[in-house]
Each structure stands twice: as structure tokens, then as C-alpha cells.
């Protein structure tokens, strides 16, 4: 649907994007995720046509978008500020883009009503923009774009201005809406949780470069670099040394945990050199509350800090032979106690808990 071919963008001396390539499929919910200033919005604006690439080319539906202005592109955008026209009411805002197309008044009114209904604003036709809340403006912006049935809908951090509860509600609604209309969504966000819950695939962008492009599951489970692992969710990092490379995996010595044979798929970024980093997600470590006969390796330590979150508890655990404590999360159940800081603890882990990163 969208092919981004080696696109770079320079603003003066600043390189906002550096040879970015990506393929966005039809009917996909695709997210551009990265910290602010990483170039994700620039990329979105280039797809929309507000900025031209300095180098490279963008294809939409097989056609090159080189020199095609925004009003001739099969894309529509939901702006971060919503950009609702203040001098028009809701119906006029939503119908704005229909102006150029043929259609009777009755037909337009029907379409507007239908689209407003779709975004949950039925009956809001005559409202003035200043009488709308942030969430409602958001829906008007969405309706205004969707009514044109674009091939691609571009969303520039549309949820960042909403409060948490509304944001979570809108996440679900947007996802449902996307499935219902089947339009390709390209969604820009700096919120990794938002990207994980909504997207089919995510491109993680750091400093103008795509660090990793994968499904939410792969991104979380197997980040290719330390930085991606750190950006998405929580990850413990330990020093590791490569001892031997075998057909089935890598024999490594992990700081504080000892020797372990890590399967190949647990090194998604490949392995180069002998100095490595072992990444471990908090939920990949288990606190042992009884001496159950579960296979795995054990390490002894002490609880340093306890953070109770209701459904989960996060522990900081100092293991013998490791300088900084590891973060570990446990699901709370009826028969599990919450360990106080200072308690001795036994941590269970296995080769699949460890991720090898360069």
C-alpha cells in the first residue's frame, strides 16, 4: 500500500530522517513509534505531502508521490491539534472535503450523519467547535477524514492531549473503527504502550533511523538492540561473555547467573564479538515461593524493594555477584505472600528468559 524507499529528510544541517525504508500493507494498523524529535512526524508529513523527501521516494498504491500535493493524495490526516475549522459547525467541518465531489445536499447530509454516527457523535451536526470537548473534537477530526474514504488515514499523536481514561477508550475505539472500515492506518505515537495495544506492526524510530520494524509481540519479546528493549517495556541488562557458538545456540557466561546455553532465536540482532549484553524482562524471572519441582535454574538473592500495583508486584532483587538489583514482576494470587524488603528470595530462570544483545 505504502512503500517508503530510502527516504531521507534534511532541515538545513539537521538530518531528521536517514534513509528510511518500510513497507506498509493494505488494511494494516501501522505505528511509527519513537521519542519526540526522532523524525516520526516528519515521515508522516511526507506521506501526507506536507513535506517533500530530500532523497528517496514514497509510493502509495504503486504510484510515486513525488511532487504530488496533499490535496491530490489518497491520504487524509488527523492532526495532533485536531485542526477543526473554528468558523464552521460540526456538520460543515465533516462535510468540508466533500465539497469538491459531486453530491446533492441530501446525499451529503446523509453521509455526514452516517459518519458522525460511526464515531459516536450522532446528532452533533449543529454544534460549534468551541462547544466541543477534546475527545469530541478528536472524533470530528476523525469523521472529517473518514468521510472521504481515503486509502490511508494518517494520525499524528491524536490521543496525546486526552486524559488517561478517555485515551484508553479511544484506543479501543480506533482499533475497532480501523477493523470496521478496513482502511490502512498510519499512527504516530511516542507512547509505547499505546503502540503495542493498537498496532499490527510497529516501526521503532530513533534519531531518524528505523531501529526495528516488527509486530508488537516480536518487538517486546525479541528487541534487536538494547535501546529498543529499553524503550519498550522494562528490561534488566547484565553483562555477558560469549564462550562458544554452537549449531543450537550460544554458550554464554552471564554476570551473576553463570553459564547458560541460549537458543539462537534469543539473539534476534545476531551476535558479534565476545562482549554481549543479556536482557531479561521482569516477568521472565520467577520468585520461588515453594520448592516445587519445576525445571529451571535458581539464583539466591535478597528483596531490596517492593512495589505493589494491585494485580502485580514489582520486586527489586539483589542477586549474589551482581552489582545492581534486578527488576522482577509477579502476578499476585490468593496464596502468594507479598515479600517485604530484606527477605531472602530465590529467583528461578531459564535459558529462554535470556535475550542476547550486542
Amino acid at each position: 500500500m505504502i512503500r517508503i524507499n530510502c527516504v531521507s529528510k534534511r532541515f538545513g544541517d539537521i538530518r531528521a530522517l536517514d534513509e528510511v525504508s518500510a513497507e506498509i500493507h493494505e488494511s494494516e494498523f501501522f505505528s511509527l513509534l519513537g521519542p519526540s524529535g526522532c523524525g516520526k512526524t516528519t515521515l508522516l508529513r511526507m506521506i501526507a505531502g506536507f513535506d517533500e523527501p530530500s532523497e528517496g521516494e514514497i509510493f502509495i498504491d504503486g504510484k510515486s508521490m513525488d511532487g504530488v500535493p496533499p490535496n491530490r493524495r489518497p491520504t487524509n490526516m488527523v492532526f495532533q491539534s485536531y485542526a477543526i475549522f473554528p468558523h464552521l459547525n460540526v456538520a460543515e467541518n465533516v462535510a468540508y472535503g466533500l465539497h469538491a465531489r459531486k453530491g446533492t445536499r441530501v446525499e451529503i447530509r446523509r453521509q455526514v450523519a452516517e459518519t458522525l454516527d460511526m464515531v459516536g457523535l450522532a446528532g452533533f451536526e449543529d454544534r460549534q467547535p468551541h462547544a466541543l470537548s477534546g475527545g469530541q473534537k478528536q472524533r470530528v477530526a476523525l469523521a472529517r477524514a473518514l468521510i472521504l474514504k481515503p486509502k490511508v488515514l494518517l494520525l499524528d499523536e491524536p490521543l496525546s492531549a486526552l486524559d488517561r481514561q478517555l485515551r484508553e477508550q479511544m484506543q479501543t475505539e480506533l482499533r475497532h473503527l480501523q477493523r470496521a472500515v478496513g482502511i490502512t492506518f498510519v499512527f504516530v505515537t511516542h507512547d509505547q504502550e499505546e503502540a503495542l495495544t493498537m498496532s499490527d506492526r510497529i516501526a521503532v524510530i530513533f534519531e531518524g533511523k528505523v531501529a526495528q520494524l516488527d509486530s508488537p509481540l516480536e518487538l517486546y519479546r525479541r528487541p534487536v538492540t538494547k535501546r529498543v528493549g529499553e524503550f519498550i517495556g522494562v528490561m534488566n541488562f547484565l553483562g555477558a561473555r560469549l564462550l562458544a557458538e554452537e549449531s543450537g545456540g550460544y554458550e554464554v557466561e552471564v554476570e551473576g547467573l553463570g553459564r547458560v546455553k541460549v537458543p539462537k532465536r534469543q539473539a534476534p540482532g545476531g551476535v558479534s564479538g565476545s562482549r554481549l549484553t543479556a536482557g531479561i524482562r521482569p516477568e521472565m524471572l520467577t520468585l520461588e515461593f515453594d520448592d516445587a519441582e519445576i525445571p529451571g535454574r535458581r539464583a539466591n538473592g535478597k528483596v531490596v524493594d517492593t512495589q505493589y500495583l494491585g494485580d502485580m508486584t514489582y520486586y527489586e532483587i539483589a542477586l549474589e555477584g551482581i552489582g545492581k538489583p534486578l527488576t522482577l514482576s509477579m502476578r499476585n494470587t490468593a496464596d502468594r505472600p507479598i515479600l517485604e524488603p530484606g527477605t531472602a528470595a530465590k529467583v528461578r530462570w531459564g535459558p529462554d528468559s535470556v535475550l542476547l544483545l550486542n
Binding site: A48, G49, F50, P69, P70, N71, T75, N76, M77, F79, Q80, S81, A83, F85, P86, H87, Y96, G97, H99, A100, Q128, H130, R144, A145, L148
Partner: protein, 295 residues
């Protein structure tokens, strides 16, 4: 004593401080503006009888002002010229304001606005005389056009008529129109223009559907700012207007001075003021509607 302590308390209150701050300018406005205006209103109901002033109240001056052909004609001409000046000023100012707001880099905008006000560094009379030099029979325009062989003899329709008045006034008031339009354009959220483009509008359609409607408060403010003073101007028509370019303000001056009929002059002045007030109120009402819709 209770009285003086109450006074002391009142002297420390917010209200007192506010009054203390506001009274000097208020007194000034009262003596310099309201009192003369009241005098003019009074005069308009009196009658001048050669050297004596008959103080019996009468509507006769107003009757004369509103019914006699010469005053009607002058008033209509004044309104026409002011309307044309307003239209010309606003239409010529808009592109300049647009250019400064949309094309000039943000760092340079202040400089541009500063440069636009440069004509004010010269006296207004000086600028009128410069226009006479430019537009005159042997002036710059005629000289150049004849030198180029484009015309045989000097153009006479460019000086000492209404065209010259309109041209001179439009130039003089342009900065007053540019500023409010510029401010209105600056206030337009640029993402609205992108949204319009994104929704399928080309540059022209975008201008008429988004930029212009949102700049309307500035345009209307500019119109009021230009319209009100032009109707009362009598220097410009006198200097570049010629016999057919004289306006109601010149007649008011004439009545007060040479004709020695201050009451009629006063009635003409009050009538003109009334008309301007009504027109201004219409503009302000229109403006409020625009502003309300974008609040």
C-alpha cells in the same frame, strides 16, 4: 473621628486606587472631548443671526442639513469617497499583510512591520505635497509617460479630483489597515491550512474557505479604522481634491469659518457623526459575529 477613619479606610481600598489612577485621564477626556462635543451639540440647536447668537432651541439647522441639495450631495460624496478609500485600502493592504504573515520568516516579521510604519516619520502634509509632485500636470507620472511617448499630453484625471483624494488617503491609511489584518492572519492556526489542503482544497479554494473567513475580524477592524477618520478629513480633499473633490468636512469648516454659521456647521458635524456611528455599529456587529464563532 469615625468619618475620617472611614475615609482613611476607603483611601486604602482597591476602588480608591482605581479611581485615583483613572481620574486624571478621565478629567482630561471630559474637558478636551466631552465638553467641546457638548458645545457642538448645543450650537447645532441655536441660530446665528449675523453677529448675534439666538439661543432659542430649533431643529432648523438639521432641516437644512438633511434637506438642501448641496449638503445631501456633499454627504453622499463623502460617504462614497470614504467607502472607496476603505475598500481600496483594505484590498491593497491585505496582500501586504498576507505576505508579511505567511512569506516573511518569523525573525524578520517585526522588522517588516517596522518598515511599514516608516511613512509616519514624515509629516502628513509633506506626504500630500509629494503626491502632488507625483500626480501633477508636470509631475512624475505625466513626465514619465510623456517621455516614454505613451501619452501626447498630460493626464488630468489624476490630480485635483476624487481619484486623487482616494489615492492619497488610501496610501496614508494603509499601515492602519495592514496591522489589524496582519494580527488576524498571525492568529490563524497553520494546521487549519494544512487540514484544508489535506481535505482536497487547492490554494485558491483554501484561501476563500479558510484564510479569508478567519481573517475577517481583522479585515472588518481595518475597515472601521480607515472609514471613521476619512469621513472627517478635510485637509486631503482641500489640497488634492480640486473643486469636485471637496467633501462634507470642507463644508463644515466653511460654515464655521467663512460663512460664519457655526450652528449649521455644528448640525452638519453632528449629522455626519451620527451616520458614521451607525455604519460603525454595523461593522462592529458583523465583527462580533465573526469573533463569536471562533471563540
Amino acid at each position: 473621628m469615625p468619618n475620617s477613619s472611614r475615609f482613611a479606610k476607603w483611601r486604602r481600598s482597591e476602588a480608591f486606587r482605581g479611581l485615583a489612577l483613572a481620574s486624571p485621564p478621565f478629567l482630561y477626556a471630559l474637558t478636551m472631548l466631552a465638553a467641546p462635543l457638548a458645545a457642538v451639540v448645543l450650537f447645532s440647536f441655536w441660530t446665528q443671526d449675523y453677529l448675534t447668537l439666538d439661543r432659542t432651541p430649533t431643529w432648523n439647522n438639521y432641516k437644512t442639513a438633511w434637506t438642501e441639495a448641496i449638503y445631501q450631495a456633499l454627504m453622499l460624496r463623502s460617504l462614497k469617497v470614504s467607502a472607496l478609500v476603505t475598500a481600496a485600502t483594505v484590498i491593497l493592504s491585505f496582500p501586504i499583510a498576507y505576505y508579511v504573515s505567511f512569506r516573511v520568516s518569523p525573525r524578520r516579521k517585526t522588522l517588516w512591520i517596522f518598515l511599514i510604519t516608516i511613512p509616519f516619520w514624515t509629516s502628513y502634509l509633506m506626504r500630500i505635497f509629494l503626491w502632488k509632485v507625483i500626480l501633477g500636470y508636470n509631475g512624475v507620472v505625466n513626465g514619465s509617460l510623456m517621455g516614454l511617448g505613451l501619452i501626447e499630453e498630460p493626464l488630468t484625471f489624476i490630480l485635483y479630483n476624487q481619484n486623487a483624494v482616494i489615492l492619497t488617503l488610501s496610501h496614508a491609511w494603509a499601515p492602519f489597515a495592514i496591522l489589524p489584518i496582519f494580527v488576524a492572519l498571525e492568529r490563524i492556526d497553520r494546521s487549519l491550512l494544512e487540514a484544508s489542503e489535506d481535505l482536497g482544497d487547492g490554494p485558491v479554494r483554501r484561501f476563500f474557505r479558510v484564510t479569508l473567513p478567519l481573517a475577517m475580524p481583522g479585515v472588518l477592524a481595518a475597515a472601521v479604522i480607515v472609514f471613521i477618520p476619512t469621513i472627517g478629513d478635510y485637509v486631503t480633499p482641500r489640497l488634492v481634491g480640486g473643486p469636485n473633490g471637496l467633501l462634507i468636512a470642507n463644508m463644515i469648516e466653511l460654515q464655521f469659518k467663512k460663512a460664519n454659521n457655526a450652528p449649521l456647521g455644528a448640525a452638519l458635524a453632528i449629522s455626519a457623526m451620527l451616520i458614521v456611528t451607525i455604519i460603525s455599529i454595523i461593522f462592529l456587529w458583523l465583527n462580533r459575529r465573526y469573533i463569536r464563532s471562533r471563540a
